[in-house]
Subunit: 369 residues, 2 copies
């Protein structure tokens, strides 16, 4: 194999596929990036067997062939090459020469036939969203997946399509995030659970431009994202997702309208008095024209008042400050509505169209004067 | 005590004096910042007994007094306050109220009389340099102090004044860095050893502007830096500094002129093949028109050639790549001169005026084909 491409194209490609290289594995071939120049284009592929990424790098193939190279070493070498054309050449003994200007690297590759290619999946059923929309909806929901494997389904997100609506849901037992997106066309209804890891990695690769599209294909066991010159294939999480509609009641006793930034900053200030690991709730005393936020800790206390408009009953309620801040951080509205029932019932932050719904469970607290 | 100042002034002051708050200490009063509003201005002071910093914060004193507050908590509170006026008030029970807009923090302070003020040092003998010059000379030498206490003198830098020349020297047993600065006037000769930690912290506070000055005062046991509204007092390291003139021979057998960036980038590429902790030298084969750089490791090999102009003998010599890169990084010249004697003798990188001299000892290596 012998190929020539620019350093910047190669670096871009290597950075993209590296997202599918596992951090820890006992199979050293999985730590490699496959350079496949056996066809008409230069393909880079990485695959951790759950998630696989393939991207095409522009360049010239001088001699067809393929080789698997350690992803970490390849990335570091390419990153530090001068900005010039790079020649990658390997011989039958797997010795690989990476030459750029006067720098000559020699490393040993691994046989390409040990590499596991991406699964060949039929591309039938697909939807189309902009890169911007997909990147945003991941950011707006990914924080409330569960971070451990006790319940596998909670480590993924529900992607549900109903005609021209894409609904994305994540939950971790303490909170639920729901986002609804209007699609440009209507599609067949479907419901899949996409691993959180896949979504995290994809959002790092997506350029996030509004005028570039992503095609998303669904099959029984896989989801495929196609954008730019890149294809991402991921296994789906098997099983039935939680029936969240039953959890999202719309009854309320108290409705509060509040400036989002004021509330966020105030909770942020309160948390600095709480040492990490200490599960101090933030207590909100909601009365007619203001919320009084209170936190008491061994370090000191904070007492702060924020103006609101309120409908319904007064209420005294406590929250995990992190959960509140996670939800507030990803809402773009300047003024938000909070719906409450009683100090033990879930609280909802949502807009009138319900294009977003964030549910947070309250926590018990003992009132200290 | 009761005072009012803007959040930004207070934050700036707190950030400056925090540099003298020790990370670990058994004396909790040292973890505090003293707010001293007993005179006509608001002073913030921190002091770890080796290094002390005092700065003046603009604001109004409503009621004279002073209080010591935990530096970490104070910093975090001030950082997260809204951009507005801050009132700090404390009562006789040390309860301290920090109020800004609608946020009311209450924390407990420590008695000001437990606090150790900066030593009262006579300001007689002084020199004057720009903030830019001082910040630069620290950056250009600080990397070659010793990072452990085996030899206390090596953890500091020599500041030596001879008429209108300030010479700054650091060394760690493997290398020496020397910088000479022309001062605007002539001063009494002096020679002191300034702790590396003091210089590191000062360079973080210096704005680095060329048209702002620093007054440096010298006494038998202390050095004082005065700039902006800030005073830094540091103990000196006692003892006699190494006689470096004997180590800086000017004989050479080979002189090489080389593009600094090319050499730096090439060594940088070579080091990526070396795992951390592995002491692989970089081998330079210097011949008439080029340096060939070679590194061999279990990961792979790099071979690279850089054009040079050379006077004198050919030489094959090995270096610790980190030591070479540290020196190259802080030299601004595009083309540098390297002076060599033999593979076991020190190598010098210096300009013709000797305003900088970097000495690096070579390392032994076994030639591998």
């Amino acid at each position: 194999m012998k190929l020539v491409c620019s350093k910047s194209n190669l670096l871009n490609g290597v950075n993209i596929v590296s997202k599918a290289v596992p951090n820890r594995t006992t199979m050293s071939i999985l730590e490699c990036i496959l350079i496949d120049a056996s066809g008409s284009s230069i393909k880079l592929i990485a695959n951790d067997t759950e998630l696989g990424i393939e991207t095409i790098v522009e360049g010239d193939i001088k001699e067809k062939g393929k080789i698997a190279l350690d992803a970490k070493i390849l990335t570091e070498i390419v990153r530090k090459l001068p900005d010039s054309d790079v020649t990658i050449e390997c011989d039958s003994s797997l010795k690989t020469y990476i030459v750029c200007d006067k720098a000559n690297f020699t490393i040993i590759g691994k046989p390409a036939d040990e590499f596991t290619y991406l699964p060949n999946v039929e591309r039938l059923d697909s939807i189309n969203v902009s890169q911007f929309t997909l990147k945003e909806v991941i950011r707006q929901t990914i924080f409330s997946i569960a971070d451990n494997d006790n319940n596998k389904i909670m480590t993924g997100e529900l992607f549900e399509i109903n005609n021209d609506i894409l609904k994305v849901v994540s939950l971790d037992g303490h909170r639920i995030s729901v986002r609804k997106i209007n699609l440009k066309s209507s599609y067949n209804n479907k419901k899949v659970i996409v691993p959180g890891k896949t979504l995290n990695e994809i959002s790092k690769i997506l350029s996030g431009e509004a005028d570039k599209d992503v095609n998303i294909f669904f099959t029984g066991k896989h989801i495929i994202f196609e954008f730019d010159s890149t294809t991402v294939v991921s296994r789906l999480i098997e099983g039935e997702y939680f029936k969240i509609d039953q959890m999202l009641s719309s009854d309320y006793e108290t409705k509060v309208s509040i400036n989002k930034k004021d509330l966020y900053n105030s909770i942020d200030r309160a948390t600095l008095l709480v040492k990490e690991g200490d599960k101090k709730p933030i207590i909100m005393n909601i009365t007619d024209e203001s919320i009084e936020l209170k936190i008491n800790s061994t370090v000191g206390s904070l007492d702060e008042e924020i103006s609101i408009t309120k409908q319904g009953k007064d209420i005294l309620i406590g929250f995990n400050p992190k959960f509140m801040m996670d939800a507030l951080r990803v809402i773009d509205d300047e003024v938000i509505d909070i719906y409450l029932v009683n100090p033990k019932a879930p609280c909802f932050i949502k807009n009138s169209e319900e294009s977003y719904i964030y549910m947070v469970l309250p926590v018990n607290f003992t009132t200290v004067s």
